[in-house]
Chain length 417, copies 2
């Protein structure tokens, strides 16, 4: 039996890779003063009807539950965030700097490399009008990628502003209700043949292509880029008016992150959505945020060899050379675990050679040989990497492991870049 | 708009509590040499039809997806584990010691304190016949609870063995197909009036109640309890033949954990399921494991005041006293974040008093006053707890924060007991 198409099994080595990404997401968000939240995987379908674009609704996993409620598996996090903030924003001092790592679901047409679930790092600042919030959030995004050892030669943040196009539409007397369609056409400009885009844009095709090709200064974008430079982050971001974002609700700055070679889909995307909370029936609250998925990021990190995560390894494996010493060996195991060390041992009698193979297979950093000497309070401990062995008293094993780098309690496999 | 009934929003303070539990689950499993895996939230409904009891199937969230597949949101983890292990067990050396922390879903009747989702810590040892595996897994369970500061006066592991009842059924000539119903009746013995159980057990009621009340030695259970004692874990576990577990697939040792006062539902439960992999069409592989949910555990920890998790706090908050120094202040923020510190600052001009309030609200450990002195390369830093202030050079702030206890990169809020 297989997993459903588009869904992933995470075997220990896959999970270690996923956790290395999630760990880095968490620690980077915390360095920027963001706090973590989460919401339900299942939400009333109504929540997405009100807010998300029609493209999302076509892809949402939806059904009637046993209580005849129409429900949806969350396809994006922003509606949940908005619902939660509207319910309790008075309990928190503004601005909110919140992040979350939901797993999201979309029934996309089956294509190579397209999954139906992914983990997405969502970071948002709510209740802050200043453009400094846009800069803060883009800096966070850049720093996450920098933290993996990626540089300006690897990726670029393309920055634009919906306001730029709104002014353009006003100049060309485009009615409000036509604008969403035009944004969709501009959003797809790189993924579709030029003729398709020209047909969708109609008489606006020529001026749109001219603006994109030749550019035109636009103050908010210039200010964002200048502030990033002032932080020492120039080279990571560029003005690019092709970026408009597919979703309906953006109002200001919008941005997307791509690898420089253009080999992958967007790594991340986001922008400002100042009207959304009010449109959903709450108070007006300016907001800016982004989402970054684990799939495209993972592909990029693998391609650039920037992340080699490994499964957690025990500090010590206890080889039991004779069954007579098992009770003493197990007491030692228990005592070392009580001291916080990660310790493994064989659960049934086996030849020492078999046990050494097991120790190697689980990647133990040290191997302890429990033989008759254990009865006298001593044991031989070998450090696997250096192959150095020494006989130490059982009471001293804790400090021996400690000096060799105790496996500290931590929430995930240490990210390595 | 509310979350669906039975689903939880995790505001930052709720998430911190959840993460403190998940973090402890992870670190304890690692101390025992378990490695983490995960599977999909959505599985083919067929997977549960084959294995789970009918009670679970009645509660499963199921629907037909857009490709007309019958799918289910995972109500338990074991079927996914079995599916994954069957597909790739040859790639791993036995025994497998695997754990996972899935979110699980069941459409239970709405009752106070009953949710429709929870996080469940699943730990399993596969490919190990020895009773030592049962002891290892029960020790892990005990250690998790001990790690939170709970003692034998707070909880008990009730240990039993399906084999005990199987022998009883054989003695009384109960046919195989009648046994599942009898197990169900014994499983519910504490939750139903005695008459209901008596009716369900029929002529076996008297001998069943006699065995439960008076006990009878049964070697495998006695060996498990003796091994736990040898590890120094006596007092945490007791023989209790009422424990049989509702699920159909257990074959040997079964156990459940309850609080001593009997104020809560079961905290955890599990057992040996040696036939399941073979029954699902794979090779025979002995297995033992348990699940522990975050909801009952959380209630117990709150009641016993054994866990007070707090939202992650920044190491430093930078107060910008005049807008002239903002560029220099933001460069400083960026530089300290690059050094790995968690730093926050105001995103728009505000009176210093407002900024100090913000620093307090986010729980910053230090506050830096960025005023004219920043231009000269200095700043005043106050340690919030001690109220001690000192003027230091900007270059020295990193080491000042370091000595005050740098917020190390870690995967979750530090568990506190």
């Amino acid at each position: 039996m297989q997993p459903l198409p588009g869904f992933r099994d995470f075997y220990p080595e896959d999970l270690a890779f996923r956790e290395a990404i999630l760990c880095r997401w968490r620690s980077t968000a915390r360095r920027y003063g963001f706090v973590e939240y989460d919401g339900p995987v299942l939400e009333p379908l109504e929540l997405y009807r009100k807010k998300s674009g029609s493209e999302i609704l076509e892809q949402v996993y939806q059904f009637a539950d046993r209580g005849e409620r129409l429900v949806a598996m969350r396809p994006e996090m922003t509606p949940t965030l908005v619902r939660m903030v509207q319910a309790r924003h008075r309990d928190y001092r503004k601005p909110l700097k919140w992040f979350s790592i939901p797993q999201l679901y979309r029934y996309e047409r089956a294509q190579r490399g397209r999954l139906r679930e992914h983990f997405q790092w969502n970071c948002d600042i709510l209740g802050e009008e200043s453009l400094e919030a846009d800069v803060e959030i883009i800096s966070l995004l850049i720093d996450l990628l920098r933290g993996f050892g990626l540089g300006p030669e690897d990726f670029v943040v393309r920055v634009s502003d919906r306001g730029f196009w709104v002014r353009f539409f006003e100049r060309h007397k485009v009615r409000e209700e036509e604008r969403y369609g035009l944004f969709q056409a501009i959003d797809k400009i790189e993924r579709q043949p030029r003729e398709t885009t020209e047909a969708a844009l109609g008489s606006l095709a020529a001026p749109v292509f001219r603006l994109i090709d030749e550019g035109e200064p636009w103050e908010p974008v210039e200010r964002v880029l200048a502030s990033l430079s002032a932080r020492g982050l120039s080279g990571f971001a560029e003005q690019d008016y092709r970026v408009v974002r597919g979703l309906a609700y953006y109002t200001g700055t919008v941005f997307e992150v791509f690898d420089r070679q253009g080999a992958f889909r967007a790594i991340a995307g986001g922008g400002r959505y100042d009207d959304l909370l009010e449109r959903l029936g709450g108070e007006r609250m300016p907001a800016v945020g982004f989402g970054m998925g684990d799939v495209v990021l993972g592909e990029l990190l693998r391609a650039k060899q920037k992340l080699c995560a490994s499964v957690a390894r025990p500090e010590l494996f206890v080889v039991i050379s004779e069954e007579e010493v098992r009770p003493a060996a197990v007491r030692l195991v228990q005592s070392l675990r009580d001291q916080g060390f990660s310790v493994d041992y064989p659960l049934h009698a086996a030849r020492p050679k078999k046990q050494w193979e097991r120790a190697e297979a689980v990647g133990a950093r040290h191997v302890l040989l429990a033989d008759f000497r254990v009865m006298e309070g001593n044991a031989e401990v070998r450090e696997v990497a250096s192959r150095k062995s020494q006989v130490v008293s059982l009471a001293a094993i804790g400090s021996l492991l400690q000096s060799g780098g105790r496996e500290r309690e931590s929430g995930g496999g240490a990210p390595q870049s």
